[in-house]
Symmetry: C2
Subunit: 297 residues, 2 copies
């Protein structure tokens, strides 16, 4: 036997210490901090559950499958992050707002650049898929409840069939259910749309497999997306959720915040709102004031 | 304003609690345990480093790149696990041995099934790539130092150019530097090979990018792989490392254990070993006894 060193068996703690030590020459302090924390938690996870080689290999296969599912129109790693709650944690860490400001929520994968320009009160329903007509209105305010004129509201939503335009192959890439609005001189906005509906996140891939294996449903509660910006204010990416949705407490991507839930009120043909919007029943209205904090310097 | 609930802002802790609670209906208790622990550590990692959306998105891009690098002959996620030290943690958790038994180390991605059968003392060098001739010998023993006859030793190694046969396009898929040996009636084995050399793990992909960004080198210290099995004993997957290698304390995949380091002794043409092996200088010898614990019931 020509073993050189005394044979103290290596422990998990030894390997973790060695792996952490390997970043001592990393120049970028932020990258170093992230790698150290990631390594610590990755090793602790395996150690705490006493991960077997078979389970580890199943994890390797799962991640490989997630990677192979990603292409120009499908981002399975974002979906994985969303369904594990990581995206919402990151949203909260990046977009924490002062008390009184409107809360943010997940951006999601369905935003598209250059939505069609809309005037006050225009409809975003360019291709009807049925659904109940809805008017969403309100104001964009600063922290002192002062209206912000000409704030931009980028609005997008799934159609009444639960599909975004990019998921609807009949549109040939055309846009629908989205538009760029601006507030008027008194900070008001008005969007005509359809009442949002609950829909399933894509679940024909590895993330869907994970949801089924853990007995989780793939539904998001009904919501309309808003991305709001105005010079001198912090931009806001958020949703408004329908208060009657059955999935509000079990959103598969954890996006619901209490302050973002609104009532969609049902109206008759001859009430005040019908006159105001020139609408005939059935239709619903929701109102919400968005509050933006001043831009960080 | 028709906000339904009072607006207590959501915290990271709220989201983590919500994400953990989502596994309350998971039937498989082991999967449930793994998902809970994974979620806890994933959220804690993001929270502790105060992960920004930009950093999160860089991570999404990195993992997508790792997935896209995986194909039938390249497993970038295993390489990522190896270089983060996770594979060695899992090896230790799955293959912890009683004191006195030979320690295991990483399996690695270069094993191939059905290696050529070799007789005692045969060479595994079917296609020479230069290098110093080496004889590795010893015994396979049980925990009472009793020889195990006819134990199988699956041996594989990189050539003197640092490449495994599967990486050498000139071989057209043919095998080299590998063979299946068996111990004799006294538990002895003898393998003729070349002195192993240090080599770089594949670093033309995202993992290589990670190594460069963190100022880590991509080298593994010189080693020969052994996978040893005998009926009634726990199988062993391990390496023998050359004691003079400069990367012993910085193996990019953390595979080195002190008890697996051996001296390769240099010989002159007229010494005892030269006579024993019928060898002419330069050549080296290393000896190592592998100790297998009894199979688990």
């Amino acid at each position: 036997m020509s073993t050189v060193a005394p044979a103290r068996p290596k422990s998990v703690e030894d390997i973790t210490a060695e792996a952490l030590g390997r970043y001592s020459n990393t120049q970028d302090p932020r990258l170093k901090e992230i790698m150290l924390c990631l390594t610590k938690h990755l090793h602790a996870f395996a150690n705490e559950v006493n991960l077997t080689e078979q389970e580890w290999f199943r994890g390797i296969q799962f991640l490989t499958g997630v990677g192979h599912m990603c292409n120009d129109s499908r981002q399975e790693f974002i979906l994985l992050s969303d369904t594990l709650g990581l995206s919402m944690v990151t949203d909260l860490l990046s977009n924490a707002k002062p008390a009184g400001a409107t809360e943010s929520t997940v951006f999601g994968p369905f935003h598209r650049d250059d939505p069609p320009a809309k005037e006050f009160g225009d409809s975003i329903v360019d291709h009807s898929r049925g659904g109940v007509v809805a008017y969403i209105s309100g104001r964009v305010l600063d922290m002192n409840a002062k209206p912000i004129a000409h704030a931009a509201l980028d609005v997008w939503q799934a159609g009444a069939d639960g599909l975004y335009d990019s998921q609807d192959t009949t549109l040939g890439g055309g846009m629908n259910m989205r538009g760029l609005f601006h507030t008027d001189s008194e900070g008001r906005y008005l969007v005509k749309t359809t009442r949002p509906v609950a829909y399933q996140v894509p679940n024909d891939g590895p993330v869907g497999e994970m949801l089924r294996a853990t007995n989780r449903h793939p539904w998001r509660p009904a919501h309309t997306h808003f991305m709001i910006s105005a010079p001198g204010y912090q931009p806001l990416t958020t949703h408004l959720f329908d208060s009657i949705d059955q999935y509000l407490t079990s959103d598969v991507v954890f996006g619901v915040k209490d302050s973002l839930i609104v009532n969609f009120e049902e109206h008759s043909t001859h009430d005040e709102s019908a006159k105001k919007f020139g609408a005939t029943a059935p239709f619903v209205t929701a109102s919400y004031d968005f509050v933006l904090p001043p831009a960080r310097n």
